[in-house]
Every structure is written in structure tokens, then in C-alpha cells.
Symmetry: C2
Subunit: 204 residues, 2 copies
Amino acid sequence: MDRERGILFVLSGPSGVGKGTVCKALRAQKLDIQYSVSATTRNPRIGEVHGVDYFFKTKEEFQRMIENNELLEWAEYVGNYYGTPIEYVNQTLDEGRDVILEIEVQGALQVRNSFPEGVFIFLTPPSLEELRSRIVGRGTETEDLINNRMTVAREEIEMMQHYDYSVVNDEISQACSRIQSIITSEHCKVDRVTNRYKKLLGDE
Amino acid sequence: MDRERGILFVLSGPSGVGKGTVCKALRAQKLDIQYSVSATTRNPRIGEVHGVDYFFKTKEEFQRMIENNELLEWAEYVGNYYGTPIEYVNQTLDEGRDVILEIEVQGALQVRNSFPEGVFIFLTPPSLEELRSRIVGRGTETEDLINNRMTVAREEIEMMQHYDYSVVNDEISQACSRIQSIITSEHCKVDRVTNRYKKLLGDE
């Protein structure tokens, strides 16, 4: 196989920072990058397609995946399992395509352990105050819940040091453009270019 | 001083790869980056301005700079000294501005020793064959000189491993865009963002 292997980019950050919005905006730009497909035990909603939106699994199937270390990370949420199958990621990378995985901080730290060669990007709020106003802006939370979120956010920001890059989400288009720059520059890293470099030397 | 310090980017690569052309194209894009000004003992040419094109020095002044370790790198070429004054680079970085230094491979390796916190970018020819045709294209070289250049280029390409990034100069606009991505992504590195991160945590 001659082709350079793809790179796994993990996009994470505190809840409320806008991971989903940034990821949607990245998708809209139709970059040459594959979005990771999660496995879940919850029931498909109308219109959701197996293998596109999720890999739908029974609880028994999911538990077998956990036991066999077939997940980069997993969590239980409101009685259902959610996780990232390793196989899909590895297959895509082997085809020479990059994969992007949008995930909560706890999951990202699991991936850091199970897939250390990934590139970890932390989406950062311009300030905690700004994060606060965004959460309040949803209009669905109580004051206690908001304060609780702030404490969690402070803890999560401390986790930034486990990441490779910090991208401030001051403006979605700016954040997307920074992430694209990270993707481009990671492909230029000398360590990754070794193959091309050896080819150059052997050309003659 | 609250402002984040600038970053020194060192752009280098084999002779004939197009460092000067890429650097000129980058300049034309008027990025918020400062170009390093070299010191030299050669006489100013008509129109050249001290402090803009070069810092013009006497041999005695230049030798004193060498002795006092005031140069990031230096070399003697056709009886004249050329070098990169540390002071200009440090002042600009302290102002929070990035500096770009275009330089031969030997000089870049000197800078790697004297300024290891710099970011080292290696401009790579798409292939040695391509490099060869570019050198022949100049039409001013003998076959022996060309073969000699090729040998030097192979040695220089081996030096790629001392760099952080490898940017293929297949097309000038592409190479410039990759370099800009590297500049952007380097500013997103978690290690460099520590200040902003601490500010976030101390905000409340």
C-alpha cells in the first residue's frame, strides 16, 4: 500500500461551546474528510440510516464490542450505550482518508488512551462569561443547572492540557478555518512525510 | 506584558527549490508577519535601505557580532559576511509579531541550535527529477555542475528530518497556503495557548 495513512482528528470541548455547530459547518464545506459513525443501542429515529447516522446494535452486541475492545470509547447515557467502533475508523484511515470524531471531553480522553496517534483539538469558549451567556441563551436551564455547568466547564477547560490544539470558537467560520489549517499542517509534519521523503531519495 | 509572544518561522530547503519565489509570494499576501532582516558586510546596492533590505556592517562590526553571539547564524560568501541578528528577531517576537526567516539549509541548522523554539519548515521539491529540470531550466549551468547540485540536493533532502514540517513546492500558491496553515495551527498549539487558558480560568 503506497498511500499515506489518514489521520484521526478528535474534536472536543466543554458542553455548550458549540462542537456540534462547528462540526456541521465543517461538514457543509465538504472537505475530503470522513465523519466517524457511532454505535448505539438506542432505537433508530425516523429517517436514520444504519451505517450512516449510527450503527444500531442490540445491548448484547454492544456489550460484546466492549469486551472485545472494539470501541475507541463508549459511555452509557439515559439507559443506552453510545460508542465509537475502531473498525470503521481504521478502515477509513487505511484508505488514506482522514476521520473526524466529534465527542465529549470524557470520551476524548478515552480515545487519547486507545488511539494516541490521533490529533486532539479542544474547542475553547472565548471566555467563561461567554460560555455562560450561551448556556443561558438556550433559555431552558435553571440557575442551579447553569452554575453547575460552569463548574463542569472550568474542570473541562483544565483538561485542555491533554489536547494538542486549542481552537477558540469566537466565530464559527474562524473556528472552521483554524481546524482546516490544523488538518493541512498535520499532513505537512515531517514525521508523517517520511514515506514521500524516502520515495524522493530512491527516485533515481 | 500580556500579549502572546510571536513565533519564529524558518523557511529553508535545497537550492533551486524556490525558497525565494515562495517567500516573495508570501510577502505579496501582506500577512501579519515580519520578514527577518540580515546583516551583511557587502556594499549597499543602489536603492537598498539600511534596516530594511539589510543591516550594513563593517567587517569589524560583523566580527564583533560573531564574538558576542549576536547572530542566530552567519556565513561567509564570496568574501563577505552574511548573518541574522538575534536582536531584531527577539524585539519583533516580543512585540507579539511572528518573524519569517528564509535561509539556506546550513544556516537553518545553525538556527535550530541557537533558537530551538523556532518552527522549521522544509520546502521540498515534488521530486528530484523536477528539481533537476528546474536547475537545467535556468540554462546557465554545465552538466557537471547540475550533477553536483543533485548530489547536494540529495544530502539536503536527508536533512529534512531536522525540520518540523515539509511543504512540497508543487505549486507556489499551494505551498504558500500550506505555510499559512502551519502558521495558523502553530498559534493553536495548546503549549502556546497556556496564557490564554490561565486567563480563562482566572476570569471569574
